[in-house]
Structures are given as C-alpha cells and as structure tokens.
C-alpha cells in the first residue's frame, strides 16, 4: 500500500516537474501550443497511458544523447583529436555541503594543535602504545571471538576480563599500569555493538557504534596475520574532527611499521562511516613476456606438489602474475614502454571486517555525567543528506 502511494506521489511530482519544464518550453519556443499534461486527465487509464508515453519519449531522447556522445568520442579518437571532455557524474561526495572545518595542508594552526594534543607523545616520540581491551559486564556469543581477533590485529594489546568493576576504576588501574589506551567492546543482544576507545592518561573518549561485523572465519579465502607491526592507512579524514579521530586511531598502533610483514590495516572514512579492513598485500611487478607466463604455469604445476600454506601465498602471486599478464596485455593505459610493465597490488583479506560510526567524542577520560563533550551526534544532524562531519 505504501509503495503504491509513493508511486502515485512520484507520478504527481513528475507531472509537476513536467509542468514546470513545459512552462519553460513554452516560454522559449514562443508557441501558443497548449500541452495536455497527464495530471489534467481524469481518466486513469488514459492518464497512465499518456504518462507512459512521455516517459518512453524521455528515455529515447536520453539514449540518443548517449549514443551521440559515444559516437563523437569515437570519431575524435579516430581522427586523432582530443575527445570531448567526459562529464563527471554527480556524487554525494561531489555535492557535499561545504564545511569550514575541513583541514587544509597549509594550516599552521592544525600542526600546532597536533603538537599540543594528547597523542603527540605517542605519535612523535614513539612511546610504544599499550592497549587494554575489555568488555561490558555481560559478554556472550560473538564478543569473545571478536576480541581475540582484535588482539591479533592490534599489536601489544592485552585482554582483561571485566568483572563488575566500574569503568572509572578500570581507567585508574590502567593508568597505574602504563597503558596508553583502553578499548571497551560493548555487547548488545549477543552481538558486539559499540566500541569505546579511551586514550590515557587524559585522552579523549570516543564512542563508536559498531556494525556489520564479519569475523575472520567467515571470510572466504582469508589469510592469517603474522606478528609484524602493521601499516596504517587512514583515508578521507577531512575535517578537524575527522583528523582528531584519525589521530586517535593512529595512536593505537605503533609508529614503526614493519613493511616486510606486509600487513595493512585500513580505516576508510566514507560519509561518516569508518570501514575497517585488514589485509596482507603484495605489490607485484610483472613483465608480460609470453615465456614468463609459460614458465609460471609450469612452475606452479610442479610446485603444487608441495602443499603448504605458505606455498599458497606464493602460488597465488605466481598464478596471478600469469593470469594478470594475460588480462592486462589489452590495456594500454599505464604502459610506459613497449615491454608493458605495470605494478599492481594484490590484497588478501585477513582479520575481521567491521564499520564504525562516531557517536560522541568526549574530552578527557570516560565521564558521561561531568565530562565535556566535543561532539555528540544528534538526530537533527541527519536532516541533510549532503552533510558529513568526519
């Protein structure tokens, strides 16, 4: 019922839109033609038929335009001229509401702020971060599994059972034992629901809502992470608030990544949702010699005799070298020389996958009653679809 109603509303809106367009057309064309709009027809069958016809016309016009565009591009390429510039599609990121708190790279105030904030001691001087992971009072089902995976992702992290201690008491205890951050995994209805990251000694408290958790065992073809310190990728933290959150996340990881371990931990911010991914990566360089591919195929067929999980890692790279060579011979986009070399990275996912959304950021350690909140999410902030805060 609701769907039908929406459809009729959409029709009406369309008709109204058509009305406006028609008015403009009339003004431009200067003809005294009287257009019969579908909305003026009282007979439902006739009205729907006219509307359908109009829609079909519009579709045909659009297709014609597209074909003309493609033909023009092709012609220009054949003639050797510059093809006409491609139009950029309108995306939500393109049309994001301008935010004055977006960080600019030439902002001195930002750097000064960075030096003076709570993370500078960890990020600059390189004191190793030490993380305490705990849960809410009742922990069940997926909680422990998620925590064990978190322990493997974040180096130098320790898990302590919650008991019935107050969070403030836990914070004092952690300060005594020289921890640099606390992560509290909150469970609701037997699923990890929220993440509380508290910086110590008097760092900010960030409360995230956790969703779409996929554990390692549920990922197909997952890899197992090694013990190397991972590399961090923080994408799209644009505003001041986002920058602060990004630094908070950065302070969880040691600042000396071991590139040989080839572990990448990504926090990608898109429209205020922070996506977490954990990969093992191999950038491959291959030369698309025909001989090379045959060599590879022979080698893999021989090496497959030794089934070993590390072999799997290598087989993948070799096979992909071969297959990718075949696949990418066609593309000329990135070819620098006639030997057609390209560097691609191949990622194997390991570790959990989840999304975070910032609910509140509080200055100082956890204190909901007396604390000063830097940012709190309110429902009235969701009214605009083009406004993002991170």
């Amino acid at each position: 019922m609701g769907a039908k109603r929406k459809k009729s509303e959409g029709e009406e809106l369309l008709n109204e839109g058509e009305k406006e367009n028609d008015k403009n057309n009339e003004n431009i064309s200067k003809k005294m033609k009287k257009e019969i709009l579908p909305s003026m027809i009282k007979n439902k069958e006739k009205r729907s038929a006219v509307h359908a016809k109009l829609k079909h016309q519009k579709k045909v016009e659009k297709r014609k335009k597209l074909k003309a565009r493609d033909a023009a591009e092709k012609r220009a390429l054949e003639l050797g001229e510059e093809p006409p510039a491609r139009m950029t599609p309108r995306t939500i990121e393109n049309t994001r509401e301008p935010d004055e708190t977006v960080c600019r790279p030439d902002d001195d105030e930002l750097f000064a702020g960075n030096d003076a904030d709570e993370f500078s001691s960890i990020l600059k001087q390189g004191c190793a971060p030490k993380i305490l992971i705990t849960t809410c009072r009742f922990n069940s089902s997926r909680g422990p599994a998620f925590i064990s995976e978190l322990l493997s992702v974040i180096p130098n992290s320790h898990y302590y059972k919650r008991g019935t201690y107050d969070l403030k008491k836990i914070i004092e205890y952690a300060k005594k034992k020289d921890f640099t951050s606390i992560i509290v995994v909150h469970t609701n209805r037997r699923e990890p629901d929220a993440l509380l990251i508290i910086g110590l000694p008097d760092g900010p408290t960030a409360h995230f809502k956790l969703s779409k958790l996929v554990l390692r065992k549920d990922i197909k073809n997952h890899g197992n992470p090694t013990g190397h310190i991972p590399e961090l990728v923080l994408n799209n933290f644009a505003t001041r608030l986002g920058h602060r959150v990004g630094r908070l996340i950065q302070s969880l990881f040691p600042q000396s990544p071991e590139f040989r371990g080839r572990r990448v931990v990504t926090f990608h911010n898109q429209r205020d949702f922070i996506f977490f991914r954990h990969h093992r990566c191999v950038p491959l360089e291959f030369i698309s010699c025909y001989m090379w591919t045959i060599l590879c195929s022979y080698l893999t067929s021989i090496m497959k005799a030794f089934c070993y999980y590390e072999c799997r890692y290598i087989f993948e790279t070799k096979e992909s070298k071969g297959s990718d060579a075949n696949g990418k011979k066609a593309k000329d986009a990135k070819s620098e020389k006639t030997s057609q070399q390209k560097v691609i990275t191949r990622l194997q996912e390991c570790g959990p996958r989840f999304t975070l959304k910032l609910v509140s950021l509080q200055h100082g350690t956890f204190d909901t009653k007396g604390g000063e909140f830097e940012w709190v999410h309110k429902p009235e902030m969701d009214t605009s679809r083009r406004r993002f805060f991170l």
Binding site: F237, F275, I294, F306, Q341
Partner: protein, 332 residues
C-alpha cells in the same frame, strides 16, 4: 454505624477498580493498602479503622484512619513522621497503634521492615554506575543501515586501498623491499658502474632519514587525502629509490639479492631480444631443465619452506629460485 460489610460486599462481588487479578492471586493497587493483597481484612476501603506506612522521598510516614473521621474524607488520614532509626520507628508504631487489632500492628511493622530494606538497597545501587538503556527509533536504525550500505558501495574499498598502497610504493616509502619497474631499473643499471662506493654512505643516511621521517610522511599522506593535493614526486623518488636499491644490493652482501639482480638482467635481455618469437622451443627446454632439477629443487624448496615461516623471505627465495632457472635457460 459501620458500613464495612456493605462496602466489602459491593466491592468484592461487583467491581473494585483497585483490584488486579493475576494468575498467582488478587492484588490491591490502592496506595494505602498495608499488605498489597485484596482481602477483607486488608482492604483500606472496607475497614474503617486502618493503618499503613507510606514513603515520601525516602522518609517514612505512619498513616492512620479512624471511624471518628469517616465523615470528613479531607482529614481522614492522620500522618506521623517516623524516624530514620528502625528500632525507634518500631517503638513509635507501638505507641500509636497501642490498642489496635494485632493483625494491623503486625502487618504495619512488617511493611516498615520491608520498606527500610528496600531503601538501603536503593541507596546502594544509586552509588554504583549502571548502564542506562536508550532506545533508538526503528526509523533511524533502518536509515543508518541503508546509508551504511550505500557508503560501502561508494567507497570502493579494495581499489582505494590498492591505490593508496601503490602511491606509497611510488613515493618510495617501502625502500628496497619490493621490485621496481624495469625501465627505471635499466636507467639505474647504467648509472650503476659509475659511483658505487661514494654513494654507499649517502645511501645509508638516506635510509635512516627515511625511517625517521616516516611519521611526517604518514601525516602528510593523510593531509593529502584531506586537501586532495596530489604530490607528484614520483620521478624524483624513483630515481633516489633506485639508487638506494642498487647500492643496497651491492653493499649488503646478501647472496640471493645479487643472484636476483644478475638473473633479472639476463631476463631483461631475453625479453628484449626474443619478444615471443620462439616460445614453444623455450618451453620445452625449460621443462627438461625443470625435470632434471626437480630433486635438487625439491630439497632446496623444502628447506626454504620448512625452515622459516616468514612470507617475505620465502617469497624472495622462491623468486631467486625462479630466476636462477631462467639464468640457466639463458646460458644454455
């Protein structure tokens, strides 16, 4: 004249709005009820002489009703404040309800006991922190889920991660760990013979600089993400990096690296010369060699795999093995 019986008959058999019947029994919701059960002796409406204890903001009051005031409903209930002390409160109840029926006195005292216990417990709980459960409207939950899905689609995560890693590779953040594009490699090979020893020290310093500068680099990268500035230092960095790599290979006496370089040289020669003219012949030759070498290779490979679980080392050694084979192909 006492109406109690009449009242009770009417209430009990017809309808009492304070009565709540559940499966375990009949309860009375009247706030003045002493026991809470719907009974002939516990009904405050059907008893003209009644006493109860009520609590207001943590202070207990003894309420009493007598038949003398039954015609003044405004002043029906007499209120006495009870002290905080439990024993003193009991004494006061005794004093006030001295000649009252035993049932009422007993039930009042029981009620006082229960309420003091509850008061103690509530105060203890108020000191502890408890989680407050907040509800979110369903509409918001659904909206968030929908937006999250769309955001995930808009963020083509794999591609963006790969792009970021490739940028870092081009900038030279990784140093000499990964392979290089061959054209740069060729350039460097030309320069290789020239200043090998001189650059050795510089190269080491360059490495150290790189390590220290990593923090800034990371931040810079983040900032680039913010402002969308693409810093095109690729050419410069590649040259530097190539130099580093080259010298690293020379100075650091690791056998497999040298082998790799030499064999990759050979490979390049092959690649440039042949260009895929005689693939089949090469393949056959390869097969023979591989079959011969199998026994040797198996042991070496097994040794490689079994000894050490580091992916990167294995990768490199397997590459070396691979390229050594190519070397042999080139020689014969």
């Amino acid at each position: 004249m006492q109406h109690d019986e009449v009242i009770w008959q009417v209430i009990r058999h017809n309808h009492c709005s304070f009565m709540a019947k559940i499966e375990t029994g009949k309860f009375c919701r009247n706030p003045y009820n002493v026991t809470g059960i719907c009974n002939r002796s516990s009904c405050p409406l059907a008893n003209s002489r009644y006493a109860t204890i009520r609590d207001h903001d943590g202070v207990f009051y003894l309420y009493m009703k007598t038949i003398e005031r039954a015609h003044q409903p405004n002043q029906l209930w007499e209120r006495v404040k009870l002290p905080r002390n439990y024993e003193k409160a009991l004494e006061i109840i005794d004093k006030n309800l001295m000649y009252w029926p035993k049932f009422l006195v007993h039930k009042t005292k029981q009620r006082l006991t229960k309420m003091t216990q509850m008061r103690i417990r509530m105060r203890k709980l108020a000191l502890k922190t408890r989680e407050k459960i907040m509800t979110t409207p369903r509409k918001e939950k659904k909206r968030e889920a929908r937006r999250e899905e769309k955001a995930e689609k808009a963020a083509v995560l794999d591609k963006s991660i790969e792009k970021e890693l490739l940028e870092r590779l081009k900038k030279g953040v990784y140093g000499d760990i990964y392979n290089y594009p061959a054209d740069k490699y060729n350039e460097i090979l030309d320069k290789e013979q020239l200043a090998a020893d001189d650059i050795e020290e510089d190269e080491e310093e360059a490495e150290i600089e790189f390590v220290e500068g990593y923090d800034d680099l990371e931040e810079e990268e983040d900032i680039e993400d913010f402002g969308g500035l693409a810093v095109n230092k690729s050419s410069l960095d590649d040259d530097d990096v190539g130099l580093d790599d080259n010298d690293d290979e020379e100075t650091v006496a690791v056998d497999h690296k040298r082998v790799r370089r030499e064999s990759s040289l050979a490979l390049r020669k092959l690649g440039n010369d042949e260009g895929g003219t005689k693939p089949k012949k090469k393949a056959r030759v390869l097969v023979e060699i591989l079959m011969e070498d199998r026994r040797q290779s198996t042991e070496s490979v097994r040794g490689v795999f079994a000894s050490f679980r580091d992916c990167e080392q294995v990768h490199r050694q397997s590459q070396e093995f691979l390229l050594s084979l190519i070397d042999r192909v080139a020689t014969c």
